[in-house]
Symmetry: C2
Subunit: 111 residues, 2 copies
């Protein structure tokens, strides 16, 4: 792992997007299909203005995009790797939670 400063910033920026439960919720609702802001709000419980802001942020970051149809804006994910990142991170968290084999080699980690 040997990143240039700029890459490091960019990487952190990408992780920062995923570091917010509200945005993960939004991504979860549009992971398999595009949805209107209303739809997203109903499913996540987020207020419209709040959801709109998160969506704007993720759009600027190139994570989602939207299609305009009449009054509606349908958002979808355009950076599918964020989904695999979530699944991967989730999996490792679960494994850490209930390890099949207790690893004593790092017991002092707890101190």
């Amino acid at each position: 792992m040997n990143f240039h400063p700029h890459d490091m910033e960019q990487l952190a920026q990408r992780f920062k997007i995923l570091g917010e439960p509200a945005r993960l919720q939004i991504l979860a609702t549009i992971c398999d299909q595009e949805r209107s802001v209303q739809d997203i709000c109903h499913r996540t419980g987020l207020h419209q203005a709040n959801a709109s802001k998160h969506l704007r942020m993720m759009k600027d970051a190139g994570v989602v995009a939207c299609r305009k149809k009449g009054v509606w804006r349908y958002y979808r994910i355009v950076a599918p790797e964020v989904l695999s990142l979530c699944l991967r991170a989730q999996k490792s968290l679960k494994q850490a939670e209930t390890p099949l084999v207790r690893d004593n080699s790092q017991m002092e980690a707890v101190e």
Copy 2:
């Protein structure tokens, strides 16, 4: 992608850790070997108190652990998946930056 609220929180928490350049820098310096706080500070340019705080946070989150030897504390990564997450995210960011084939199907993303 269908997470329980608690899992979502936990997932966001994990990403939040990686969403900070200073912490990515720290992780980069200890990705292949344990290092003392001094060493980390010198390599990253972070102030001692600041590095200490970031390390404390990552220790509480189970991402790093430390070994005490005299006055020194040697920190190491104990959640190696964060490294693969970084590499994976970095890779996809690079790909998005310079796509081999321009994908016009999502041009309206830019609006």
